[in-house]
């Protein structure tokens, strides 16, 4: 699809028109709990109002934010490591964040803020190690970066499983973190991180045309004046930050970063000027819906949202691939 600003704005409007009802549905509708009617009639009720604004709203916004951040991370990562299977978790950052979140539980610090801080620190530490492993002669070597990520992921996962031995009451919290949960972050944390994530995505969008060029080959891109090495390094930092922030408030949620970019490429081709904003919205919507299903499917029992994303996404993705190949 040839890029036109008008087409971008038109499609953006359609995406937002779809997003609004999905957002409102996920915010207000939930079987067995506080129903739509109760919520609509009870804005004056302090308890209902508190459930709506302090529990549901941050959770739905977290879905949009985390899903969007993971999808954009996957999109950019597949490009910079030149591997269509790449997604944020392959760099080991999520494992680092998870270990960072579990560590305070082992040490007896059950405060949530310690877990958030630990998750972010763990993600950043892994990111730095993988980055320096990927450097070769001052340039990022795609293969080394990917292998370094897989190795660090395996190493930190081993630490996580070993740490289970030392977890008593914290084991349940740790498992919740590992299986993904959008209620991990408090409303103040969510509302602080949301603009930061949006800002990083805007910074990523600056490179959208350069990404199109890098897609045609790094040498070809550098020959037409694109600073490929610098863009790869900066993009890696952006992707790592997005993943770290997402894992901090949602735990491990796989699949969104892999499936959304591939689905959108079927409709929008290779052009990152379309793919970046629509990946954010698509990833966000997928996670909001997955979280609603996780809450509603076996109410009052809550399913892990990461399992729902894979359960919904994998068959859809396979069906799409089959349809394209016939």
């Amino acid at each position: 699809m040839t890029f036109r600003v008008n087409t971008l704005l038109l499609h953006l409007s359609v995406w937002i028109l779809v997003l609004i009802p999905v957002f409102l549905f996920c915010l207000f509708v939930q079987p067995g709990s506080v129903s739509v009617q109760m919520l609509l009639n009870g804005f004056d009720d302090p308890i209902l109002s508190s459930i709506l604004w302090e529990v549901r709203l941050p959770r739905v916004i977290n879905g949009l934010m985390t899903g969007g951040a993971l999808a954009v991370s996957g999109l950019v990562l597949q490009l910079i490591v030149r591997n269509p299977l790449a997604e944020p978790y392959i760099l080991g950052i999520s494992s680092g964040a998870s270990f960072g979140a579990i560590l305070p539980l082992i040490l007896g610090a059950s405060l949530f803020s310690f877990q958030i801080g630990g998750a972010f620190t763990g993600a950043v530490l892994v990111m730095v190690v993988v980055y320096f492993t990927g450097l070769r002669y001052g340039r990022i070597d795609n293969g080394r970066l990917l292998l370094g990520g897989v190795m660090m992921g395996a190493f930190v996962s081993a630490l996580i499983f070993m740490s289970f031995t030392f977890l008593g009451d914290g084991l349940r919290t740790a498992i919740t973190w590992l299986m993904g949960n959008l209620s991990l972050g408090s409303s103040s944390v969510i509302f602080t991180l949301f603009p930061i994530i949006l800002l990083i995505i805007l910074l990523v969008y600056r490179y959208s045309y350069a990404y199109n060029l890098i897609l045609t080959g790094e040498e070809v891109a550098s020959q037409v004046g694109i600073p490929v090495d610098r863009i790869k390094k900066v993009s890696y930092l952006y992707v790592s930050a997005l993943t770290a922030l997402a894992v901090c408030v949602s735990g491990i949620i796989g699949f969104v970063g892999l499936v959304i970019p591939h689905i959108l490429r079927r409709f929008y081709g290779f052009d990152h000027r379309y793919l970046i904003p629509f990946s954010f919205l698509g990833g966000g919507m997928l996670l909001m819906i997955a979280d609603w299903i996780a809450r509603a499917a076996l109410f009052p029992v809550e399913l892990p949202v990461g399992a729902i994303t894979a359960f919904l996404g994998a068959p859809f993705f396979i069906a799409l691939m089959r349809k394209q190949s016939t």
Partner: protein, 270 residues
């Protein structure tokens, strides 16, 4: 566009030997230059230095009298276009989309195409004779067609010089000739300088005006193709005896018959 290399040396980080060592030559604008040499002789490195992908450790590259290092990457891309040897598209693209990326040096950071850009893209597609393939995904094209698409992309760049790294690698005989005919037509009709690395010495000798022979990273010989691609020079540079035979405009470079052993293989007898 004329080229001059002044004692250019380059080595890849981590390797002790020079990929190119003190290479100097110059060529006039509008020439068709073939760069030949055995594997590992430095052909691809030379081409990457000529189009600005690599920067020399020492020495200077000049085009049209201007030193390469004094020109911005964007400005350089308006003068020199590059067709890589290994075309590694990560995801499938449509022909027109790929050709349009050749306009990058003329676009803003968001890469918005103007009407003039679209005219140049259509013209490049027409010149490369791929109008019928415009909307097709690259992966569905044959090797020869793909090579034409990349040449169209270089043409959309509107540069005075096109540098190609082994454009006929992996192509059958028919497509090899077609690609070289296309390049020759471009050189004659547009006055564009063509620089191509090539393993086929018959194609190099038949189509080029000038030639460069590299040997172990050093310049072995350069100048007019007829003076450079001689039996003696090829024998010494490639370490194999050849015979050269001219037929009309074509010059056939053949490995000497003495190099083929005679096997008494019963399977070859009818």
């Amino acid at each position: 566009m004329s080229f001059r290399l002044n004692s250019v040396s380059f080595h890849y980080p981590g390797l002790k030997f020079h990929a190119l060592d003190q290479v100097s030559f110059d060529f006039p604008a509008g020439s068709f230059i073939s760069v030949v040499g055995a594997n590992g002789s430095g052909k691809s490195t030379l081409l990457k230095l000529l189009c600005g992908i690599l920067t020399p450790d020492s020495g200077s590259v000049f085009f049209d009298g201007r030193e390469f290092s004094s020109i911005s990457a964007g400005e350089r891309a308006k003068n020199v276009a590059y067709v890589p040897q290994k075309q590694d598209l990560l995801f499938n693209m449509v022909v027109e989309e790929l050709v349009s990326t050749g306009r990058t040096p003329y676009l803003s950071w968001m890469g918005l195409l103007s009407e003039h850009d679209q005219i140049q893209i259509d013209s490049a597609i027409k010149k490369a004779d791929i109008s019928h393939l415009k909307g097709k995904p690259i992966a569905q094209l044959s090797g020869g067609e793909q090579q034409r698409v990349w040449i169209a992309r270089a043409l959309a760049q509107q540069a005075g010089c096109i540098i190609l790294d082994e454009p006929t690698a992996h192509l059958d005989l028919k497509h090899q000739i077609e690609i070289f005919r296309l390049l020759k037509d471009l050189q004659i009709q547009t006055g564009c300088t063509i620089i191509t690395a090539c393993h086929d010495l018959t194609l190099a000798a038949s189509f080029s005006t000038h030639a460069v022979i590299l040997r172990c990273g050093q310049l072995y010989k350069s100048g007019f193709a007829s003076a450079v691609l001689t039996e003696t020079a090829i024998r010494e540079a490639f370490e194999i005896p050849v015979t050269i035979r001219q037929e009309n405009d074509f010059i056939h470079v053949q490995v000497a018959a003495s190099e083929f052993r005679t096997y008494s293989d019963p399977m070859t007898k009818p």
